[in-house]
């Protein structure tokens, strides 16, 4: 099939970007969206043009490196899918796709579709870990954890830190990401110990990075490739209220 692309091109952080139109022919519906971009980039390189820069690593939907906005939808039109796991069969012959980087003040564009997500790393550094001594690996039954908590912690831990939640939010809020990280630790005995300081530090860092305030529109939950639920934000709020006021 034939795909028309309108891609955001930006030389570097300081440059003013703009859209550029491309047309890719002989696209197989079995190709992934990135393989289609690879094909286009090969053609660009052959013509001596600068290839389109985009972030990716595993291409298996597990590392969190990738992420572009396609026709205004973070990671494209499907639910629960990363950009790298999106296939061209989701589109039709002759479609025009507008491809843009994540847009948020705290995710500045580095080049083309690549954004700087170090703000997420700094939030993790501010509390997204366990610093108590947890000893060696205990027997699985040595620390009883209710199944419901173990499952909830695991669900939250599936967040890959891609930033789609921020990208789609009209407030560029990072609360789904921070909520997932806080919930994951809060549900487990080793994480509970430092819960108060953790949530206060992570929220302080999130605010310092310039992310917005959640207004509960739910767009993040709708776009998250790992289907992290809004319950994580409720847990974040509750933990923060308790740590700050009680």
């Amino acid at each position: 099939m034939q795909i028309n692309l309108k891609v955001w091109r930006q030389e570097n952080r300081q440059a003013i970007g703009g859209y550029k139109n491309y047309s890719v022919s002989d696209v197989s519906e079995h190709m992934s969206f990135f393989e289609m971009l690879d094909k286009l980039n090969n053609e660009l390189v052959r013509k001596g043009e600068d290839p389109i820069a985009f972030d990716h690593d595993c291409r298996e939907g597990i590392c969190g490196s990738c992420g572009v906005t396609i026709n205004g939808r973070a990671h494209g039109p499907l639910r629960g899918v990363t950009s790298c796991q999106l296939h061209m069969r989701s589109f039709k012959d002759g479609d025009t796709l507008v491809v843009e980087p994540w847009r948020a003040a705290s995710f500045p564009v580095i080049k083309d579709l690549v954004v700087d997500r170090k703000s997420f790393d700094r939030i993790m550094e501010s509390g997204g870990y366990v610093s108590i001594n947890t000893g060696g690996t205990p027997d699985a039954n040595a620390i009883p954890i209710p199944k419901i908590d173990a499952d909830a912690a695991f669900d939250s831990a599936t967040c890959i830190g891609c930033g789609a939640c921020v990208a789609i939010c009209k407030n560029s809020a990072a609360m789904l990401f921070v909520g997932a990280k806080v919930t994951q630790f809060t549900k487990l005995p080793q994480g509970k110990v430092e819960r108060r300081e953790r949530v206060k530090n992570m929220v302080a860092q999130m605010d310092a990075e310039g992310f917005g305030s959640c207004t509960n529109t739910g767009a993040c939950e709708a776009e998250c490739p790992k289907e992290i639920s809004l319950t994580n934000i409720a847990t974040l709020n509750k933990e923060y209220l308790k740590a700050s006021l009680c």
């Binding site: 207004t215 529109t217 409720a234 509750k238 933990e239």
Partner: protein
């Protein structure tokens, strides 16, 4: 008090102010509707109801001040929230898909809230102000139904209806949103919150709307 300012200036603290003040305003509109219902009891009942309230002037004044503070804190934190969020979301996408991932009411809170604000200011400067000037023989009922600033004036009545519908849209998102902000949206109270939300976004605004339609347009026509 350092912890308090830290909390109040945090993203979650601002939401907390928004939610608390919003829910308190919900209580206020609920009692206001009960008062308005007295209009259906006729002139004598309504006037005696307002006169009874006026007998507790000092108490009413204190409550008015408290409500004003709640209202102002709702608006001020609403403005702060909206401006901070605009700053965080510096540039927009070429294709806007808000309608695919979020509800209409959640995306229009600042607009619906602002219309309600304009309505409240107008409401206070007309009805509330004239109520303060009534002494002894005057009729509150006549002010409400009159042609000057009451439902007898079709423009006022129509704006009343529009404002109440938009208040319903504001509360469609706002009421349940406050419980998410407090972190209790997924608790055992979930079902109760959903039922209460229906009362606040649908039943109460519909009640105000019905009163305006009835006294503004229907009662005259039949």
């Amino acid at each position: 008090m350092n912890w308090l300012t830290t909390f109040m200036n945090s993203s979650i603290g601002k939401k907390f102010t928004m939610g608390t003040s919003g829910l308190l305003l919900c209580l206020f509109i609920a009692q206001h509707l009960v008062g308005n219902m007295m209009l259906f009891g006729g002139e004598a009942l309504f006037n005696s109801y307002v006169a009874t309230l006026s007998a507790f002037k000092p108490l009413v004044r204190i409550i008015e001040v408290i409500i004003s503070i709640i209202f102002l804190s709702h608006i001020i934190s609403g403005i702060r929230l909206t401006l901070d969020n605009k700053r965080a979301n510096s540039s927009s996408y070429n294709v806007n898909t808000g309608s695919e991932t979020s509800s209409f009411s959640s995306r229009t809170m600042a607009i619906t809230g602002s219309v309600v604000f304009i309505f409240v200011i107008m409401h206070l400067s007309t009805i509330w102000y004239r109520f303060q000037l009534v002494h002894g023989s005057g009729s509150y009922y006549d002010i409400i139904l009159g042609d000057a600033v009451g439902f007898g004036n079709p423009i006022y009545a129509a704006f009343y209806v529009v404002a109440m519908i938009l208040m319903g849209v504001h509360l469609k998102h706002g009421f349940q949103s406050a419980f998410q902000t407090f972190g209790v949206s997924d608790s055992r109270y979930k079902g109760l919150i959903e039922k209460m939300s229906m009362i606040f976004w649908l039943v109460i605004p519909a009640g105000f709307t019905w009163i305006a339609l009835w006294f503004g347009f229907i009662a005259e026509a039949i």
